[in-house]
């Protein structure tokens, strides 16, 4: 049924293309082809948009695609424009990767400045290097079956439908989910085992590919392209329309393409200056940004609002149980130190988390608990000392590799990407192939909402539980939970503690629980480690450790009472 629903839109689009090709006059089909070309380029802009990046050089990539098609046409490479356009897209990809490289360090407006600079530089280069065939007055060749504007419209329509299906399918893969996750939080993306660099670069590569395809299509449509087709200001206008229409959605991209082509045409026919179109687009983008959503996003949100997510069934009463003590050492930390300038955030921390246990890590605010979590999961490159997981040294490994090696963590702040559904998020964060039954099992275990609920609709507490569920679903060796009960009611915290007790037996993972709620710690943990001023000051069974006077002193003045 899902598949049938998925196929309905492309089939409808194909039907419209067929009917239009049969009845609409050629002039309008030529215009519609232009709209489709813009739509493909916008679709590419949507790919980087999904990953939360602004690209202002889309037409520069398109120029690469157009140049490639012109080149191949001059060489008369076999395969006709169908192969050439594909080659144009592929040729643009390396450029996307190159422009994407700065995005590994640059974000937001800095990235926008770089891409704008690239667009301007590409302008200069494109003007300097001629498009092939232009000198010799050779137009881009089209095979007999694509010779007329009518036939070419059908071809462009097919390309768009394929590109749209591709974008939609890609959005459902882990790569697509990674883009949305990167947009929300790079740290959380890496912590769930996905390379942020790969996510960003793949978004840029996909974007450049689509832009290249669009450029190639344009070259075939017009027959002869020059630098004027790919000017910086055109890239900016494309960006503005993408913001206005919402290019992350296939429908939004198409809507944007139609706007870019038909609005000026309508103005021209009405005897109004076509420049009004850009005024309109500028105002539309400002309006979209002030609403916080594009036209398509607003529409999608409204559609979703009509189908509110069902409330999860109440969890079965828990029985709790004794926290397991665990067996041999699993996670071994030796002499871990982190310094920020002259301040030591962690000093020679030694810590062993045994296999199959729930261990607590407590300490007053600023004791270094979160620094320890960051150092363990690989966020602090300057950390010294050794971390070993099940005999494997983790030192020097980047965050996503540590996660893949079996060390998972959750965050104190809400880091669940809002752009996804519960199911998509769980499958993405699992970072392995999971069956629907597995997903439902872990959902039921922690009482998470159904798979088709949207993360954006969940409250903070539910998101925290979802994050824990995702970490468990990845089947790690050890999972570090950074205050998972923040945002939960006290009774819910205790229920969560009972669940955590079951985790080692059920999911085969040890738990390192960082928590302020000492009731929860007592209930869940077999052992507790106390951190103060970056040093381990005590460790042992909870009752014993919490009774020690130096531990009480460490907490004195803090908001947590040792009762």
């Amino acid at each position: 049924m899902r598949r049938a629903e998925f196929l309905r839109q492309p089939l409808a689009a194909l039907a419209v293309i067929a009917v239009a090709a049969a009845v609409v006059p050629e002039y309008w089909l030529f215009l519609a082809t232009s709209a489709l070309v813009s739509a493909v380029a916008l679709l590419g802009l949507g790919a980087v948009g999904r990953a939360g990046m602004n690209s202002l050089c889309q037409l520069s990539f398109a120029a690469v695609g157009a140049w490639t098609v012109a080149r191949l046409s001059v060489w008369d490479v076999p395969g006709s424009i169908i192969v050439w356009v594909l080659a144009g897209g592929l040729a643009a990809m390396p450029f996307g990767l190159v422009v994407g490289l700065p995005a590994l360090r640059l974000r937001g407006v800095h990235l926008a400045v770089v891409t704008l600079g690239f667009a301007a530089a590409a302008d200069v280069v494109v003007s300097a290097v001629n498009f092939p065939g232009v000198d010799s007055y050779q137009q881009v060749g089209r095979p007999g079956f694509l010779a007329t504007d009518r036939q070419y419209f059908v071809y462009a329509g097919l390309v768009f439908v394929i590109a749209g299906i591709g974008a939609e399918l890609l959005g459902r893969t882990r790569t697509g989910a990674a883009w949305r996750a990167v947009r929300f939080s790079e740290r959380a993306t890496a912590a769930s085992g996905t390379s942020v660099a790969r996510a960003k670069l793949s978004a840029f590569a996909a974007s450049a590919f689509l832009a290249g395809v669009a450029g190639g299509l344009l070259a075939g449509q017009v027959g002869m392209v020059t630098a004027q087709n790919f000017q910086t200001i055109g890239s900016l206008a494309l960006f503005v329309v993408a913001v206005m229409a919402g290019a992350e959605y296939v429908g939004g991209a198409l809507f944007g393409g139609v706007l870019m082509t038909f609005v000026p045409e309508v103005f021209r026919r009405a005897g109004i200056s076509q420049d009004w179109a850009n005024v309109l687009f500028g105002a539309g983008a400002v309006q979209a940004l002030s609403q916080g959503s594009s036209v398509s996003e607003g529409l999608a949100r409204r559609l979703r609002a009509r189908r509110p997510a069902p409330v999860p069934p109440p969890r079965a009463e828990t029985t709790g149980g004794e926290p397991p003590l665990g067996t041999g050492p699993l996670l071994e930390v030796r002499g871990l130190s982190v310094r920020y300038g002259r301040i030591a955030a962690l000093q020679d921390v030694d810590l062993v988390v045994p296999e199959g246990t729930v261990m607590g890590l407590i300490g007053p605010n600023g004791a270094g608990k979160s620094t320890l979590t960051d150092a363990l999961s690989g966020f602090i490159a300057s950390a010294t000392g050794g971390v070993t997981l099940a005999g494997r040294r983790l030192d020097g490994l980047p965050v996503h590799r540590r996660a893949a090696a079996g060390l998972r963590r959750t965050f104190q702040q809400d880091r669940v990407p809002t752009g996804l559904t519960v199911g998509a998020y769980l499958r993405f964060a699992a970072h392995r192939r999971v069956t629907p039954a597995e997903v439902d099992d872990v959902r039921a275990f922690l009482g998470c909402p159904p798979q088709d609920a949207h993360v954006a609709d969940l409250d903070v507490g539910a998101r925290r539980l979802l994050e824990v569920a995702a970490a468990l679903l990845a089947r790690p060796k050890v999972v570090v939970l950074d205050e998972p009960a923040a945002g939960l009611a006290h009774a819910e915290s205790l229920a969560l503690a009972d669940r955590l007790v079951e985790v080692p037996a059920r999911y085969g993972a040890s738990v390192l629980l960082i928590e302020h709620d000492l009731d929860m710690v007592r209930r869940a943990c077999a052992r507790v480690v106390v951190l103060d001023f970056g040093e381990v000051i005590a460790s042992g069974p909870p009752a014993e450790v919490l009774a020690r006077p130096d531990v009480a002193r460490a907490y004195l003045g803090d908001e947590v009472a040792l009762t």
């Binding site: 400045v113 600079g117 206008a237 979160s370 702040q413």
Partner: protein, 285 residues
């Protein structure tokens, strides 16, 4: 080579002054204003249109400055009204929409025909050793230094400067302390808009450009601002002048001359990657 570098200082001074506008805007109203130069374009074309109607140059220039300030204030008001609490990224994205819209408005208002700009600083100032210093480059270089100095004085020595800095940190908090944030924000836009128009009044008559290529001077201006990290006024001026001189010098290197306008991009890339090399993660924790 040296001759070229000195000839490039006219453009460099303009980059510096426009870069100062961008730096001030980023520091004080949290926006990389891609539309900064487009606002100036409105001003200088208003001047040209007025002069075309037979207005004396001084009056026409004044009208141009006023028009730019008004347009900028209006945009600043929009920004403050709807995006008061938005982050720098979003505000900058909006400025791109402003840029596209303003250019279209400028085409609508002033036509798309190339226009000759009347100007005051056409001639040469003096010639030393065969190297001529033009009036325009002298005005631009000195002007950008003066603007940087004045801005520094206002920001560090006056109550207005203190208020502006408070406003830039926390607009809502500043408003609670009875600082009229929207008014000051719009005022800031107006002042930098006026400044951009003034720069273009000097530069545009010396150059042959349409609205778009003038407005895209925002890119080298951005480069200048980046040299100063969108913070330092002195470094921004140095960056602008350096960039102009480099472009001018490159025009004399035969093989590279064609690509000299790509220099800002390479500079942008180098500066950003160096200054942001430690920004491995998006959030502090």
């Amino acid at each position: 080579m040296l001759e070229g570098a000195i000839a490039g200082l006219a453009g460099g001074g303009a980059y510096a002054a426009l870069g100062l506008c961008l730096t001030l805007m980023f520091r004080l109203v949290r926006v990389v204003n891609f539309a900064q130069v487009a606002i100036g374009v409105i001003g200088v074309y208003t001047m040209a249109a007025a002069a075309g109607h037979g207005w004396p140059y001084g009056l026409a220039a004044l009208a141009g400055l006023l028009a730019a300030a008004l347009v900028a204030a209006a945009l600043g008001w929009v920004m403050g009204r709807w995006f008061g609490e938005a982050g720098a990224d979003q505000r900058s994205a909006i400025s791109i929409a402003f840029l596209v819209g303003l250019l279209a408005v400028s085409y609508l208002a002033f036509g798309t025909h190339p226009r000759r700009m009347p100007g005051e600083f056409g001639g040469s100032l003096f010639t030393v050793d065969g190297i001529t210093i033009t009036q325009a480059s002298a005005v631009c270089v000195l002007g950008s230094a003066v603007v940087a100095g004045a801005a520094w004085l206002v920001l560090t020595r006056t109550v207005l400067g203190l208020r502006l800095r408070a406003l830039s940190e926390r607009p809502t908090t500043a408003e609670l302390h009875a600082i009229p944030s929207r008014l000051l924000g719009a005022g800031m836009w107006a002042v930098t808009g006026l400044l951009s128009a003034a720069v273009l009044l000097v530069v545009a008559p010396q150059q042959t450009s349409d609205q778009t290529s003038l407005a895209l001077m925002a890119i080298p201006a951005c480069t200048a601002a980046l040299v100063g990290g969108f913070r330092s006024l002195g470094l921004t001026v140095a960056g602008g002048l350096g960039l102009g001189a480099l472009q001018g010098a490159l025009a004399h290197v035969g093989e590279l001359a064609q690509y000299r306008d790509a220099v800002p991009f390479l500079a942008i890339l180098a500066i950003l990657i160096w200054s942001q090399r430690r920004e491995v993660w998006d959030a502090a924790r």
